[in-house]
């Protein structure tokens, strides 16, 4: 079924060109490319970027301009104000929530990276009995979504006495991160030549020494990819944080924004958007420094 749709869609992409002599891209004329590539690309880009632009704009707009759209052009801001952001940082518990989010994300990422490095190495290089089966099970674990686990997990977290503690998230988030990171690191470890390892084995190195001194330094790009992506996933996570945390001071940014900021005030939008912006910025900045690693994390886990 999707086959069929797809053809139709692509037909519309290329319908302007039926002449075989125009089949190769370097022969394309400027106008044709303008209409068939740049125009649709710009439209899609504008739609993709607009909500973020709107978030930034709203968070620095004075309230008067926010609610009077006819007097002030809503697509721009005159006399930007940092009032909303200031209020957020100094008059609410936002810094605390930001800290919680960071703390949980970093610790959960470190924990899952540790577990994934050993698991990936064992699956790729030690190749113990049943390694293939375990590898397949880890892939399947990647496909189990939090939405079907949060109810039983809530009872388990309660039973372990971890309810309303950041520790609950630190232990549960790795279930999302380990399958992903293991799968990604397996791909990186596979590209490291066996010979290096054989030499070290002959020189009397143990497997642990090989892993730490030879494999890991060579897999640094993979480690960066896995950690950046894991951080993003943790930061993003919502349903577990919503279910397992109850007290205001323990909440993470996504949960706090939804539950603590939403009152009936029509002036709330400025501070809501400021909250969303400040909560997104650390990730966006991190992302802008590591775009390539990020993309390889995203595509790497799928390509395998």
């Amino acid at each position: 079924m999707s086959d069929h749709h797809n053809h139709q869609d692509s037909a519309s992409v290329t319908s302007g060109v039926n002449d075989a002599s125009e089949g190769m891209s370097y022969l394309d004329g400027g106008i044709r490319k303008l209409i068939h590539v740049y125009l649709p690309l710009s439209i899609i880009m504008v739609v993709l970027i607009f909500p973020f632009y709107w978030m930034v704009l709203t968070s620095i707009k004075p309230d008067a301009q926010l609610i009077n759209m006819d007097k002030f052009n809503p697509f721009w801001v005159v006399e930007p104000t940092f009032k909303h952001i200031q209020k957020l940082l100094f008059e609410s518990e936002y810094p605390r929530w930001l800290w919680n989010t960071m703390y949980v994300s970093v610790v959960a990422t470190a924990l899952s990276l540790f577990a994934s490095v050993f698991a990936a190495y064992a699956l790729v290089r030690i190749r113990f009995k049943g390694a293939e089966l375990v590898g397949a099970m880890i892939f399947l674990a990647y496909l189990v979504p939090p939405s079907i686990l949060f109810i039983p997990l809530a009872t388990i977290i309660q039973a372990y006495g971890l309810f309303d503690s950041p520790m609950a998230l630190i232990l549960v988030y790795p279930t999302i991160l380990i399958p992903f990171s293991t799968w990604l690191l397996m791909g990186y470890f596979k590209t490291i030549p066996y010979e290096l390892e054989e030499c070290a084995l002959i020189d009397g190195a143990t497997r642990l020494q090989i892993l730490i001194k030879i494999i890991l330094p060579l897999a640094v790009p993979g480690l960066i990819s896995a950690s950046i992506f894991s951080l993003t996933l943790c930061w993003n996570e919502f349903i577990y944080a919503l279910t397992f945390l109850s007290s205001t001071q323990n909440k993470t940014v996504p949960v706090a924004i939804v539950s603590e900021f939403v009152d009936g005030d029509i002036y709330r939008w400025g501070s809501l958007m400021a909250g969303a912006l400040v909560g997104s910025l650390p990730l966006v900045i991190l992302y802008s420094f590591f775009v390539e690693h990020y993309v390889s994390a995203m595509t790497g886990a799928v390509k395998e």
Binding site: S10, G23, K33, I148, P254, V291, V302
Partner: protein
């Protein structure tokens, strides 16, 4: 014990220690198992066990703060008479099918566009990914504001263009609310699909297109008979993920409508949350979650067959 031996620092090079390590490294199975311990402990305790426990809970009348007793299929019987449950199943399927199909079409289209020769290509690609990087709940909040009944920028623009006279009630009307959520979901999902498919497109060797073009293939035929078949395996995997995550979506809906108006946007996940956590009926909520599993298995099967096709395409046996 195996774990201890591995975890111990290497500082002490005593004779006995050394030989223990040597024995360890000679026994693949033992060493492999030891290396798997950290990952296995976490995945078994917080993934496999809850998965089983969820199914068990669905056969009990557990409530928050009270262990349930086994009541067989009562939760399911109860749900099968529950109109809201069936509405949520319908909503989930509607949401998943519409959003996935459009995400796939737009994603593939965007990937093909990005695969053209473009100036500032990597910059464009980084910008395309931003919706994926911004935490979902936070962008959902931005959409909530864009969809505001009073100050929506969309309503304002359309009014100024003279296309409508009244504000659109994006989230207050059942049909509008469904479509608004689907749009937000598409917005969030397209970058992932586009960028992963782009990675697939880039692996297609240009010489194949040259050969096809020399044989007289049109652009469309190039796409249909060269690009698409080579892309099928990656499409299968990407779409499985996309369908899976759309089907089990929770954040977008919870942040924007919480299932309303009149349950029109309740997905199975949000209904499960409402019944199990807010109302405290863990057994019933677990039954809703468990009812999602067959759909997920179906999606995984589809992906599996997609992967089989890859083996065949790469000249491997059909197994």
């Amino acid at each position: 014990m195996a774990h201890n031996a591995v975890g111990r620092p290497q500082a002490s090079f005593q004779r006995t220690e050394r030989s223990l390590m040597q024995r360890l490294s000679n026994d693949r199975n033992w060493l492999g198992a030891a290396f798997m311990v950290p990952a296995a402990v976490i995945l078994i305790m917080f993934l496999a066990y809850p998965l089983g426990k969820g199914v068990w809970l669905s056969f009990t009348d557990a409530k928050i703060g009270r262990d349930g007793v086994f009541i067989g299929l009562e939760n399911y019987e109860w749900l099968s008479d529950d109109k809201i449950f069936w509405l949520s199943v319908f909503n989930t399927l509607f949401y998943t099918v519409i959003a996935s199909v459009i995400k796939f079409l737009v994603g593939l289209y965007l990937a093909l566009l990005l695969n053209e020769k473009l100036p500032f290509k990597s910059l464009i690609r980084s910008i395309v990914l931003i919706p994926f990087v911004v935490p979902t709940v936070l962008s959902a909040i931005a959409f909530w504001w864009i969809y505001d009944s009073q100050f929506s920028i969309i309503s304002w623009s359309l009014k100024n263009m003279g296309l409508i006279t009244e504000n659109i009630d994006f989230l207050g009307n059942p049909d509008n609310a469904r479509l608004s959520l689907i749009f937000a979901n598409i917005w969030r999902g397209v970058p992932f699909i586009a960028i992963t498919l782009l990675a697939g497109l880039q692996t297609v060797s240009p010489s194949l297109y040259e050969a096809a073009t020399l044989d007289g293939a049109t652009r469309w035929q190039n796409f249909r008979f060269v690009t698409f078949p080579l892309l099928t395996p990656i499409i299968a995997v990407v779409m499985t993920f996309s369908v899976l995550f759309t089907f089990t979506d929770f954040q977008l809906v919870w942040a924007m409508t919480r299932g309303g108006p009149v349950n029109a946007t309740h997905l199975m996940a949000t209904l499960g949350y409402q019944r199990a956590i807010l109302a405290g009926n863990l057994g019933e909520g677990a039954a809703i979650s468990t009812a999602m599993i067959p759909f997920l298995l179906f999606a995984i099967m589809v992906s599996w067959f997609g992967l089989q096709r890859r083996k065949w395409q790469q000249g491997g046996s059909d197994e």
